[in-house]
């Protein structure tokens, strides 16, 4: 939230952006990674996908295995520090890099973590505040869309209005708001498997609000929330389509939504 505003480089000059794909997009939803690349390139960035990346280390960190997360954080810092910007299609992973890494270290590594923190951006915030997207080339979306704010994006990064603004500009969609949109969906990383019943109850509240919003598409900026919500919706037999916001913005949501088959 208190990130210093980067100097606008002249538009001709391409910004050197490293994409942190995130482990969930890598494994479960590659089109989030490809959509992010397309969006960043359209916004005039040169995108690199550092090969050494795997995951930010949040599962171990949040579960209290902090000493196991520290070397993972070091590896991420090393992989991403050569770039001007690190863009992440996830509030929770971006929050891990920018808020939690600096707290893991002292001395030199703390400084390196701070430097990484200062250039780490959540995707939708980057596309509204640093590299703006040109006018869209694709057709407006015709479905009603609701947006679920992930807690880390909302509270650690101040991301709330940015994805809504982009959906409006790029997809011609006015988000149908969820009531209780400040409340967690119950994913919480390993929480969802350690306390599955409470987690499912929280998902149900969120899904009921999504149905009540009248939307057919539930968009979000975090795959953790989306996998959890779509998995619960499948179990309940709810007809909602789940998409990462990057897929919608890139204008190519042709394949099945998250957790949907081709049958």
């Amino acid at each position: 939230m208190d990130k210093p505003h980067p100097k606008r480089k002249r538009s001709r000059q391409r910004r050197d952006v490293a994409l942190m794909v995130t482990c969930l997009a890598d494994l479960m939803r590659p089109s989030v990674g490809f959509s992010a690349i397309r969006l960043l390139e359209r916004a005039g960035c040169r995108v690199t996908v550092p090969e050494q990346q795997t995951c930010c280390g949040q599962p171990a960190y949040n579960s209290g295995e902090v000493d196991a997360a520290v070397p993972v954080a070091r590896a991420v810092i090393e992989a991403f520090e050569p770039f001007d910007y690190v863009v992440v299609p996830s509030g929770s992973c971006a929050g891990m890099l920018s808020h939690h890494y600096p707290a893991l270290f002292e001395g030199e590594w703390h400084q390196r973590a701070l430097a990484l923190s200062a250039k780490t951006w959540e995707l939708t915030r980057f596309l509204t505040e640093v590299a703006r997207l040109p006018a869209p080339r694709h057709k407006p979306l015709e479905s009603a869309v609701t947006y679920h704010d992930s807690c880390a994006a909302l509270r650690e990064l101040g991301v709330h209005q940015q994805p809504r603004q982009l959906l409006q500009e790029q997809c011609g969609v006015q988000v149908s708001e969820l009531s209780q949109n400040q409340v967690c969906c119950g994913f919480g990383g390993t929480f969802c498997a350690r306390m599955p019943e409470i987690s499912a109850k929280m998902a149900d509240d969120k899904l009921d609000n999504a149905v009540a919003s009248g939307a057919t598409i539930v968009a979000a900026g975090d795959l953790g929330c989306l996998l959890h919500l779509s998995g619960r919706a499948r179990r309940r037999g709810l007809k909602l389509e789940f998409r990462h916001v990057a897929e919608l913005l890139a204008g190519d949501p042709r394949g099945p939504g998250i957790g949907e088959g081709r049958e």
């Binding site: 794909v21 890598d26 494994l27 479960m28 590659p30 089109s31 989030v32 990674g33 490809f34 690349i37 397309r38 390139e41 995108v47 090969e51 050494q52 995951c55 599962p59 171990a60 949040n62 579960s63 209290g64 295995e65 902090v66 997360a69 993972v72 590896a75 807690c151 880390a152 509270r155 650690e156 209780q180 409340v183 967690c184 119950g186 994913f187 919480g188 990383g189 929480f191 969802c192 498997a193 350690r194 306390m195 599955p196 019943e197 409470i198 987690s199 109850k201 929280m202 998902a203 509240d205 779509s230 998995g231 619960r232 499948r234 179990r235 099945p256 957790g259 088959g261 081709r262 049958e263």
Partner: protein, 476 residues
Amino acid sequence: MKLASNEFLQASSAALLEEDKAQRRSLIGQFLPLARDAAASAYGDFDALRAHMKRVRRHTMTHLSHYLEQFEEAAVQHGNQVHFVANAEQLNSKVLSICQAHNARRVAKGKSMVTEETGLNELLLKAGLDVLETDLGEYIIQQAGETPSHIVGPALHKSLAEIRQLFLDKHKLGDRELETVSEVVEEARGVLREQFLAADVGIIGANALIAEHGTSMLVTNEGNGDLCANLPPVLIVCTTFERVLPRAEDAMALQRLLVRSATGQPQTCYTSFYTGPRREDDVDGPLETHIILLDNRRSDILASDYSEMLDCIRCGACLNHCPIYIGVGGHAYGWVYPGPMGSVLTPLLTSLEQAHHLPNACTSCGRCAEVCPANIPLPDLLRDLRQDESVQQLKPARWRNGLRLHAWLLRHPGLYRSLTGWTISVLGLLGKRRGAFRRLPFAGGWTGQRDVPAPEGGGTFMRQYAARRRRGGKRG
């Protein structure tokens, strides 16, 4: 109070099935945050007040012995007797001995979480004293033989119909309807008034102790605290040492934060200050007053990495904003303090071994810290407790080993890629038609409640990306 925090998983499962109660909790979770937000924004710069209080609290904790001495000296000067006690047993027996010294038979008690912590009522009742809770919520749960479900509204879990039936059963007052809230309240008031007038000893808590004057501050909405404090001949204030603040104006700052955060009111109906026993010219007031300051491991907390937890002012905002507390209710937490603050305090005041599920009842959503008037980084403290849980080997071994293996694998990208590449390709093919799995090996924690969305197909991003690069073609 009996500690049952390690039954959190079973108790929360059971609580999720109570539809009526779940619905009431959900209303609390909607209404109280709205009330708090409205009150905070009507105040003006509420965050500046929070930051100010934080500085005052930290300063006080750093100079704790100075302010406690100052408080004690001033309080004694006003004729109070001040007692420092180390643990629950000492507090309880001190109270009992004061009651016995006055041959007390009836005790009127104001709301006090500290005496819930020490289980005072149980001891006094066993000793033959007639102890009545006089806060309406506390009175209701005392009659029902239950424990508080919320630190501010102890009976928030009970419906009007339940309370009505409880009163009809417990009060032998003949035929009456008790159909409206005001009739129910009126009846409780009648019963309580009698106790206030007949009580030999009054017991109350404190929201703040003002060091410069030796005065204690109490906020209530019902005025029962004042009646407990002023009508019986003996008053005992049971509280803990970290309530101390340097000046009266600090207590006022705390009061502004506390009330808005707790109920969304700009002001409680009563804010009372108790300075000592009746003076020569006073027309009323107790003849003898005691202030008991409990430690109960708080000195250990002060010396630990969790010392910020002592800044908690017991407003309950973190409960009202916690989706897990709202989901399962206070009783599931198995002790006196529920919700985020309770999940930090319970392991610290008892032991992590006896309460290690509680710090895991958290998604790190951060909403509690966002509203905490004392700016306590609750999600960070809960994460630290999860780390302690791991160090003390209280976490299930398969979780610990699994997470550590995963973290190790993350540092070996080549191996990680070949393992995930293969697995994801297979899962992508298997899940292609349905798009999700009902069951997968080793995923019982997930699949008990949800399907597993299948990977999108085509293999991992990294594999597809490398293939595109090799083709030398377009990346996007």
